[in-house]
Subunit: 128 residues, 2 copies
DNA sequence: GTATCTGTTATATTATATGTATAACAGATA
DNA sequence: TATCTGTTATACATATAATATAACAGATAC
C-alpha cells in the first residue's frame, strides 16, 4: 500500500489519505482485517502531523471503511465495507449531477461519459 | 431560471450558484447570449452579498460559461461553452476516480453505476 | 449635467476549515 | 517500568467563505 501526498493539491491532506485508502480497498490491495499503520507511524512516514492522519482515520471509521480498536490499532473493516444503501445512492446522485451537467455543457456525449466510467471501473478490476 | 440556496449545505454559496447556472445551461433553460442578473440584483434577490455572486460569476467566466461586459452586464456565452478538451477530460477522470472507488467498495456494480449516470443524463435531455 | 445602472477594486471583519505543535491520559503489552 | 496504542485538549497559523462598506469608472437615461 503506497501512499503519496501532493502538498500542492487543493484537496486537503486528510482527503487525499481517505481517497487513497478507499482506492486501496477497491483494488483489493487492502483486504478485510488487514492492519493499517498507527496514526503516529503513518504521520511520521509521511512527514505530517498525527492529527491529520487521525482525522482521515476517524472519517473512514465513521463511513464504515475501517475499525479502530483502542489498543489493537486500525484495521480494514473485517466484514467488508457497508454496502450501498438508499442514503448512499442519494449522495452519489447528488455528487454526479453537477459533474454530468458540466460535461453536457462541454458537449461530452452520454456514450463518451459512460465509456470513461467503464474505463475507470476497469482500472480497479484489473488490479485485483 | 430559478436559483435556490441551501444555507445549511456544506457546499459554499458561490459553488451552489455556479452549479445551478451550469445546470441551467445544460438543460437549455439558459441559452447562449441570454442575460443573467447583475451581481447586485442577484445578490439582493437571494439575500446574499454582492461579492459572493461576483465570485461565482468570475469563476464561470474563467471557465468559459459566461461573458462579462463591463457595462453591458453578464450573458451566457454567446458562442456556447468551450467544448471538452484533453485538460477537461483529465480533470473529469480525476474527479470520477475516487467516486467510483467508493462505489466499488460499496458493492455498486458497473451496470448499476452506468444506469445511474444514464438516468442523470436523461434528466437534462428531457427538459430541453 | 445629474442620477443611476454596470462591473470592479479595496479594506475590514467574522467564522470556519486545515494543518501543525505539544502535552497529557488510559489501556495493553513486552 | 517502558513503550506502544488511540484519544483528548489546547493553542497557533493560515486559508477560505461570507459579509459589510465604500469608492471608482464607464455607459445610459432623464
Amino acid at each position: 500500500m503506497f501512499l503519496t501526498l501532493d502538498l500542492e493539491s487543493e484537496d486537503p491532506i486528510y482527503t487525499q489519505l481517505k481517497q487513497q485508502i478507499i482506492a486501496g480497498i477497491a483494488k483489493k490491495e487492502l483486504t478485510p482485517g488487514e492492519a493499517l499503520p498507527s496514526v503516529r507511524a503513518l504521520a511520521s512516514d509521511l512527514g505530517i502531523n498525527l492529527h491529520t492522519v487521525n482525522k482521515a482515520y476517524q472519517q473512514l471509521k465513521q463511513e464504515g471503511f475501517i475499525l479502530i480498536h483502542r489498543q489493537k490499532g486500525v484495521v480494514v473493516h473485517p466484514e467488508g465495507v457497508a454496502k450501498a444503501d438508499e442514503a448512499y445512492f442519494q449522495l452519489l446522485e447528488k455528487t454526479l449531477h453537477p459533474i454530468i451537467a458540466e460535461s453536457i455543457c462541454r458537449d461530452v456525449s452520454e456514450e463518451t461519459f459512460i465509456k470513461l466510467c467503464k474505463d475507470i471501473y476497469q482500472t480497479y478490476k484489473s488490479e485485483a
